[in-house]
Symmetry: none
Subunit: 401 residues, 2 copies
């Protein structure tokens, strides 16, 4: 089993460049009328050119049959086994809004919810209040100070928020207040180990104060907390691969994930063209570029087949200028499939294209799910993509004499 320690022991710094283009949710399912997926429907002359010169395959981000969330999907692409490198729910939500978690902070995922007069939960999502309403309510709670612990309360979307507890080294080893069922009262948060007593006490005080503050704000008259956790400490991509990695992503979650693995997060705009421009402007300063395209996943989630096709075509067009820079390795792939027909992430394997001067080309001449089946990379775990990219960039020395 190839692991990060092995890669670390043979990686070396070199001037060659790797571009990891992640088209979020790229993999799809064929539209019954045409028998073609989103990627197969899109006109993608540049991707097809790369596929013809490169080597293709299908990868599983977590494993066959497993539908990955965004975090595991990306961790796998960066070479981290997404099952053993776990991010707690609270820390993940904080990352998702690009909140700068610090060592010692404990973060919890929060829901605004509805309780009745007997304190029994009647709606765990407070009727899915609007994000604007959520923002407003968070402002009422944000900045509370309890026993020298400052509590940041930040909106996520609809009824979701993040609560971050800062002050001293707080242990997140406490139970949830969210019982994840209706008709019962929110649970008292308890310490699961002695060093978490203080955290549990403060969290319960916070919940009590929130209840008072929210009493007149039906349907959002209470909060539920779960998944207390800290920013995990992962070895950085700089340590493992001896790379200077940069991330270009317009959505906060992906910037947070990139920061977690030690990438420099570059300022960029919101369009695909902006992102590619940022890469080109910073080309000389880094040797790994993670470029994240969100629109494909959003379109897939919306069930909008045609919009997903259009986003893929936009990416293909933007690729031309990048190709003219001739990076030594270009990998085009995704963190998971998001078929428009399923309106959500799915377990289907993800098309992968690797182009480099030193790859061994296969007979695949177009970038599509069905063509990738017979690609030279075969079917393989996504955690191996970085090793392959590193090898093709001649950044890995021989293992053993």
């Amino acid at each position: 089993m190839v692991n990060l320690e092995l890669i670390k022991s043979i990686s070396r710094s070199s001037p060659t460049k790797i571009v990891l283009l992640v088209i979020d949710g790229l993999g799809g399912l064929p539209r019954p009328e045409t028998g073609k997926t989103e990627l197969e429907t899109a006109s993608t002359p540049n991707l097809d050119k790369l596929a013809a010169k490169g080597v293709c395959g299908l990868s599983d981000p977590v494993g066959p049959g497993i539908t990955p969330g965004s975090a595991p999907g990306h961790l796998a692409l960066f070479g981290y086994d997404p099952v053993s490198f776990n991010i707690g729910r609270g820390a993940l939500e904080a990352m998702g809004i690009d909140f700068d978690l610090q060592p010692g902070d404990a973060a919890a995922r929060g829901n605004f919810c509805t309780v009745d007069k007997a304190d029994l939960i009647t709606d765990r999502r407070a009727g899915r209040i609007s994000t604007e309403k959520c923002d407003e309510l968070c402002q009422l709670l944000d900045g509370l100070l309890i026993e020298n612990v400052k509590i940041f309360v930040q909106p996520v979307r609809e009824h979701r928020f993040v609560a971050v507890f800062r002050g001293g080294d707080l242990s997140p080893d406490v139970s949830d207040s969210d019982p994840q069922q209706l008709g019962v009262t929110p649970k008292v948060i308890t310490a699961l180990s002695p060093e978490a007593d203080r955290m549990a006490g403060i969290a319960n005080q916070f919940v009590a104060q929130a209840k008072t503050t929210l009493s007149e704000h039906l349907p959002a008259n209470m909060v539920l907390l779960r998944g207390f956790s800290k920013q995990p400490h992962f070895p950085t991509m700089g340590e493992i691969y001896k790379l200077r990695p940069a991330a270009i992503a317009s959505y906060p979650m992906y910037r947070g994930l990139a920061r977690l693995v030690g990438m420099k997060v570059l300022e960029t705009g919101t369009s695909i063209e902006d992102e590619f421009k940022t890469l080109i402007q910073n080309y000389a300063r880094y040797d790994l570029f993670f470029l994240h395209i969100k629109g494909t996943d959003s379109a897939g989630e919306d069930g909008d087949f045609d919009r997903k096709v259009k986003v893929i075509e936009q990416v293909d067009k933007a690729l031309a200028e990048l190709m003219s820079l001739q990076p030594e390795v270009i990998v085009v792939t995704s963190d998971h499939s998001t078929p428009a027909l399923l309106r959500g992430h799915s377990w289907h394997p993800v098309p992968v294209l690797l182009y480099s001067r030193w790859c061994r080309p296969d007979r695949v001449s177009e970038f599509s799910e069905s063509a990738c089946i017979s690609g030279g990379l075969g079917r393989f775990p996504a955690t191996q993509i970085m090793s392959l990219a590193m090898a093709n960039a001649l950044k890995l020395t021989k293992f053993g004499a």
Copy 2:
């Protein structure tokens, strides 16, 4: 995860025969002018015939993206996980010159080097002295006796030698004297655990004596030692597979590796024809034959595409007589790729051909990298090759009731 314990529990002895033909560095990259690799360029009617009747695939000796050294590449072919079955540097060098390491021996890799008047290292390789010169200098040091420990000093190539310390059970748990940098003095060898005190003391005395002996032999006026290690103790192929394995290899490193896993190393000549003749002469006496072809790897390392093609064609020709003996299983593969275009070992997956009466044939009708992509074996770790060969030789019983 299939492991050696499992295989051991279901293996059985039987009269069927397996030939494991290892064409070192076989995998290649296409020559740009033709789009064909070395194997695809070679005329190989016999290999193609076997491929058509057999089942093909691509294997990774260590893992995707990992370029294997000769030792890990071969251990994987013999079924040993090359990451967990590690061979120390000193022991590996001793093996590489076919030195018969005994239990209790500690071996170190040595360099002749140059030091200035202040004992600072000015050249870690003594200007890469000739192998003849190395031989001459080794003779000056060979056979020293220090505190009843005899020190064997044997030339490897250019500035490289092996020092083997024999006498009592010496612990190799000592630091290197080689600082692996210039402008500093060689380091004093220190024990890394209490039981290695004696080894460290003797090694330092050896270095001191070598310095005196070499004082007039500029540029080779000092030695550097590293990688003290013992012959590792691996379970033998006889124990695991219940085979009587024989090795036919004209290069010492491969004979050493074969001996390490318990193969009988047969005397043979240096040509491909000699090696095949040795196999045929010994056919009745063993049931696994590891036949190693070195010329393909050497040609690849030299960047000589055409010579590599010729060696492959020679092997193909020699195969005819072997095929007429009708061994139950023939596996043709390699320990790693050595594309002439890269002039060295590479990470590219290795073509595998398995022929037996009981294999399930695929549609592959020629033995080549691109044809193997769509072979029935798929893409798989090289450590599984032996299990497949054993199964096809009907030497593995059912697992579980």
